[in-house]
Every structure is written in structure tokens, then in C-alpha cells.
């Protein structure tokens, strides 16, 4: 083996000592209901040894509607916490000092607003921005392809992304500005090779955008991170992470001329595969998650979310989230797999799988380059069609029993176990409407802040500081987005079968 851990192209890991030096960050994705409930869940997780927060937002927050907007009907607080103004964000982090935790936010189209809210909370807590650390997902391209929480067309969206990258490089040096995600494309049905290729192709587009703006690649690239899925095919998944690291290192050095090794290191968060969980025999999901988490650790992940067994059915209960966290802790502290960096490196099978995935991903990447880049491949429907073709093939294979899913198409027991699931308070939506009405009354006139934002949106100024100033004055997520929708227009995906 000529490749070494901690050395270019980092196939075997980005650190020479890996988990002997430092364990991965255990980061359970959480957030639901209102700010008060979410604050309670976060404190619970921190009290039980979780080492970082990962914030889930409800769909209205992700798509730029306040909780009292007609478009928010039925969705408030469902898949994450509802955040409309600084008041909500202050409540979420009440009693959680922002210089003591790192927070990852799954937020894309409205990333600059949620980052602004986080920085405004830090200010209020007296924590300087140089001391806060965390991540915004800020990855709009995969939203157009698979996840669906886009608002604006690609060009203004890429501008907002580059604004964050540029702003944080100067003002918030500990912030990871983009987490380029393959997770959702994999959930949507793509293969391991496609996951690598489409993710890196998105990454290339972001780096290209920032370079075209005149930023020096080594000034921002070390703060880019990635987010992968970890599925059940054990060795293929370990190999996937290795292949992705090798490919990215080469791309950054050769295509973008990066000089700093940190720009070439592919750092990533992993979440176990939600789509591998079954509603049937849900206890089996604990076993699936354990295997997937182990593959992520053997693949050298920097942080990890383990799914809870009830997530095929509902939001997880406190009890099942704790079991998922314990799964990571057992791998970390009892299994002994942390003793050696890249312990599977050199295995004939894993090395061959790594080479195969690298080759297949390269083929996709050159096909995308030939189409004129990822933006074109998204707009002409290529990426979308590739993913759903794979999803359909998978479904057919399951129905023909060419693929076995225990408890679903084989080893089906007569009895369906019932799970206790997390419920969202039905009074939440009316309560949120009332709270927002009160807030708008109390905060005073915000028109002058919105006028400043409108002017900046029409110029080429960086919008991040302007948005921070808006949220400081309790301008809401919905109000900012309404204005930007008028300025930038809205994207409408043209997906068909």
C-alpha cells in the first residue's frame, strides 16, 4: 500500500492518527414543534453526552414562510422546529452558550437568514463571532435534484451561497460554509457511485462560483464540508468514503490549483440511511443502523448521526433517540475499531471496491463536464432521471425478491409491532399565529430595514451583513423571503416521469 492516512490523496483518511487523536462528533439531527420543545430536546441530548447539535427546521422555515403564512398550513413544527424570528432562535439556544457547542443547521434556500439569526443570538449572549462554530448546509443544487426546498432560481441562489462563503471567510472563521450533500440524492434512490459523482459535481460548481467571484481557493475551501449517506452494503460504503476522498483531493489540487492541503481534504458528516429503515419489525432498524454506523466509522467520518428505529414511521421519541446515540457510543468506546486509522485499507476487496467506485464516479463526472457542468445537467433533467431510474430498479428488484429486505419481502412475521411515536401538539399552529401577531406589533416598523435589503439585492453587494441587520430588528424569515422572491423570482422544477 503506497497510500497513507493523513497524506494526499487522503484515501485512507484525513488524519494520520484518526480516532486515536479525536473521536468523531456525535451529532443527532433534532428539532420539532416550537423553540421551547426543541430547546428541551437539545439540552437532553447534551446532558447525555452528545457533542454537537444538529438543527432540523420545519418546511415553512426551510422554504421561507412564517408559521402564520397560508402556505404553512399543516406543516408547522412537523419535520423540524419552526423559526420565524430572532425571538424563536433566542429561545432554542436559551441556556446553551454558543461558544461551547458547535451547531450544524440543515438549511439551504434560507441559509443566510438562519446563519444571521444564529450570529445575532451569539451577539446577544456576548459571544464573539470568532468563537462560534458550526455548519450551514447551504447546498441548493441537491435541493433542485432531490430534496425540494428550493426557493429562488439557480443564479441568485448561487450568489447567496457565495455571499455566505465570502462573509464567513472574513468574519466567522470557525464556520463551515457549505455542507455539500449526497445524503438526499441517495435517499431518493441513487447508487453509491452516483452519490459520489453528483455530490462532487455539486462541490465543483460551488468552488467554481466562488473562484469566479475572485476568492482565493485556499481562503475558503478548507471550510467546505460534505455530507454522505451510509447504506447497508457494508464494504461498498466503506469504499465509497475512501473513493470520494481520493477524487476530491485530486480535483482540488489539479482542477482548482489548491496549494493548502486542508483545501484538498474531504471532511464529511454521515447519517445512516433513513431509506433502509422499515416500518415492519422496527426493532430490526437498530441492527441496520449499527452496521451502517460501523461502516461510516471504518470509512473515516468526522461526525455521525445514527437514525432511530422509529424514523420510518414518525419523528423519533426521546427513548429511541437515546438508543441511537448509545449505538455510536458503543462503537466508539467498546468495539475497539477506533484503534487504527483506516483498518480495512489494504484489504483486497475494499481496495478493489474503492477503485471501482472511483472509476464509475469519474465516468459520471466527465459525462457531466461534457454536458457543460452540473447546473446544465440539473436543468436538463439528467441527474434527476438517473436517480429515479435507480430508485425504480431497486423497487423492482425488491418486488422480485432479487433484493431481500428482512421483514418486508422475506422473514415476514405475522405480527406488526406498534411503536409509540412522537406527537406534534395540534394547538401549535394557532399558538404560533398568535405569537407572531404579538411580535409584529411589539417590534415596531421594519420597512426601512427591508428597503435597505431591497436595494442591496438589486446591487452586487454581499447580502449576508444586510440580512443580519434585518434579523437583529426582528424582521422575520417570511418577510425577508417575500422580498427576495419579488427581487429574484421563484424556481419551479419541471420533474416528470
Amino acid at each position: 500500500m503506497t497510500e497513507q492516512p493523513g497524506k494526499f490523496p487522503f484515501t485512507r483518511g484525513i488524519h494520520a492518527t484518526m480516532y486515536r487523536g479525536r473521536l468523531w462528533t456525535m451529532r443527532q439531527y433534532a428539532g420539532f414543534g416550537d423553540a421551547r420543545e426543541t430547546n428541551k430536546r437539545y439540552r437532553y441530548l447534551l446532558d447525555h453526552g452528545q457533542t454537537g447539535l444538529s438543527m432540523a427546521f420545519d418546511l415553512p422555515t426551510q422554504i421561507g414562510y412564517d408559521s402564520d403564512d397560508a402556505m404553512a398550513l399543516g406543516e408547522v413544527g412537523r419535520v423540524g422546529v419552526a423559526i420565524s424570528s430572532l425571538a424563536d432562535m433566542e429561545q432554542v439556544f436559551s441556556g446553551i452558550p454558543l461558544d461551547k457547542v458547535s451547531t450544524s443547521m440543515t438549511i439551504n434556500a434560507t441559509a443566510s437568514i438562519l446563519l444571521a439569526l444564529y450570529l445575532a443570538v451569539a451577539e446577544k449572549q456576548g459571544v464573539p463571532w470568532s468563537k462560534v462554530s458550526g455548519t450551514v448546509q447551504n447546498d441548493i443544487l441537491k435541493e433542485y435534484i432531490a430534496r425540494g426546498t428550493y426557493i429562488f432560481p439557480p443564479h441568485p441562489s448561487l450568489r447567496l451561497i457565495a455571499d455566505i462563503v465570502e462573509f464567513c471567510a472574513k468574519e466567522v472563521p470557525g464556520w463551515n460554509t457549505i455542507s455539500v450533500g449526497g445524503y438526499h440524492m441517495r435517499e431518493a434512490g441513487c447508487t453509491a457511485a452516483q452519490e459520489i459523482a453528483f455530490t462532487l459535481a455539486d462541490g465543483i460548481t460551488y468552488v467554481q462560483t466562488c473562484v469566479e467571484r475572485g476568492l482565493n481557493v485556499d481562503d475558503f475551501a478548507p471550510r467546505l464540508a460534505f455530507f454522505f449517506n451510509c447504506h447497508t452494503n457494508f464494504f461498498e460504503e466503506v469504499a465509497k468514503f475512501r473513493a470520494a476522498r481520493r477524487l476530491w483531493a485530486g480535483i482540488m489540487r489539479d482542477r482548482f490549483g489548491a496549494k493548502n492541503e486542508r483545501s484538498m481534504m474531504l471532511r464529511f458528516h454521515t447519517q445512516t440511511a433513513g431509506s433502509s429503515l422499515t416500518a415492519q419489525q422496527p426493532d430490526n432498524n437498530v441492527v441496520r443502523t449499527t452496521l451502517e454506523a460501523l461502516a461510516a466509522v471504518l470509512g473515516g467520518t468526522q461526525s455521525l448521526h445514527t437514525n432511530s428505529k422509529d424514523e420510518a414511521i414518525a419523528l423519533p421519541t426521546e427513548e429511541s433517540v437515546l438508543l441511537a446515540l448509545r449505538t455510536q457510543q458503543i462503537i466508539a468506546h467498546e468495539s475497539g475499531v477506533t484503534a487504527e486509522p483506516d483498518p480495512l485499507g489494504g484489504s483486497h476487496y475494499v481496495e478493489a471496491q474503492t477503485d471501482r467506485l472511483e472509476r464509475e464516479a469519474r465516468e459520471y463526472l466527465s459525462k457531466i463536464d461534457n454536458m457543460g457542468g452540473m447546473l446544465k445537467a440539473i436543468e436538463n433533467g439528467y441527474v434527476y432521471k438517473e436517480i429515479y431510474r435507480s430508485a425504480y430498479e431497486h423497487q423492482k428488484a425488491v418486488e422480485k425478491k432479487e433484493k431481500i429486505i428482512v421483514g418486508v419481502n422475506e422473514f415476514v412475521s405475522g405480527k406488526q409491532l406498534k411503536l409509540k411515536t412522537q406527537q406534534i401538539d395540534p394547538k401549535l399552529e394557532p399558538r404560533r399565529r398568535k405569537e407572531l401577531r404579538a411580535l409584529r406589533k411589539k417590534r415596531g416598523n421594519v420597512q426601512k430595514h427591508l428597503a435597505t435589503l431591497k436595494k442591496a439585492a438589486g446591487s452586487s453587494d454581499n447580502l449576508t451583513p444586510v440580512i443580519i441587520d434585518c434579523v437583529r430588528h426582528y424582521v422575520t424569515v417570511g418577510e425577508i423571503c417575500k422580498l427576495l422572491r419579488q427581487e429574484f423570482g421563484e424556481y419551479r422544477a419541471n420533474h416528470s416521469i
Binding site: L59, L73, G74, E75, V79, E143, Q280, I313, A314, I497
Partner: protein, 124 residues
């Protein structure tokens, strides 16, 4: 048979809806897919315009009670009576409520395309 597969609300999970749409198409049905982010009003308008025999509603974000009941209400108001079925992440207690509203069947995670095809052939 003509079927509308529809995604209501802000939910962007379309794997299930698309795989079902592709499966029904391959089973010989004519399928119209709405794409994501439709209001109940848009779904009902599309169903009437396309004059479909059945509507499949998909939701994985938990907004199904509010959105699906509105679809049923609008269908009634417009005196349009296709067979309505649903899929996605829908808790058992809500399945009962949805059936009371006139939604004929709910296909949860792990359902096969074959079972959906059989159901539609038998009931439409």
C-alpha cells in the same frame, strides 16, 4: 385507467410518488404526476382538468390530515368523484380518520407496486 399522482403541501420527498407513478405506467395505466409543492386547490383542479379515474396522494412530512381533508372537501364541492388513495408516512390512527373522509386505501412504507396495481384494477 387514468391516475393522478399528487404531492400536497411543502413536502419534497418524491421517491415514493415517482416510483409508484412509474410502476402504474408500466402496468399500462395513464399517469399524470404533479411534481412537488401543490396546494389542495391545484391538485383538485388538475384532477378535474385531466378527468382522472383515481388520485394518489403522497405525504411524508406529517401535513397529511390538513391537506388531504381539504382535497376531499374540494372534490365534494366540485362533485367530482375519482377513487382517492394515499401513501407515505401516515400513522395508524390517521389512517382510520382518512378512510372516514372517503380515502379508500392508505399504502404505507414497504408497500409493493403490485399491491397498488391490483387494488386499482379491482376498485376503479
Amino acid at each position: 385507467m387514468k391516475v393522478l399522482i399528487a404531492k400536497a403541501g411543502l413536502d419534497g420527498h418524491e421517491r415514493g410518488a415517482l416510483v409508484v407513478a412509474m410502476g402504474l405506467r408500466d402496468a399500462g395505466m395513464e399517469v399524470v404526476y404533479t411534481g412537488i409543492r401543490n396546494t389542495p386547490e391545484q391538485i383538485v383542479a388538475a384532477a378535474i382538468q385531466e378527468d382522472v379515474d383515481a388520485i394518489g396522494l403522497s405525504s411524508l412530512s406529517g401535513g397529511h390530515m390538513a391537506q388531504f381533508s381539504r382535497v376531499m372537501e374540494l372534490l365534494k364541492k366540485n362533485k367530482f368523484k375519482p377513487l382517492v388513495f394515499a401513501g407515505g408516512i401516515i400513522p395508524d390512527e390517521d389512517v382510520k380518520k382518512l378512510k372516514k373522509l372517503g380515502i379508500r386505501e392508505v399504502f404505507g412504507p414497504g408497500s409493493s407496486i403490485t399491491s397498488i396495481v391490483e387494488f386499482l384494477k379491482k376498485n376503479v
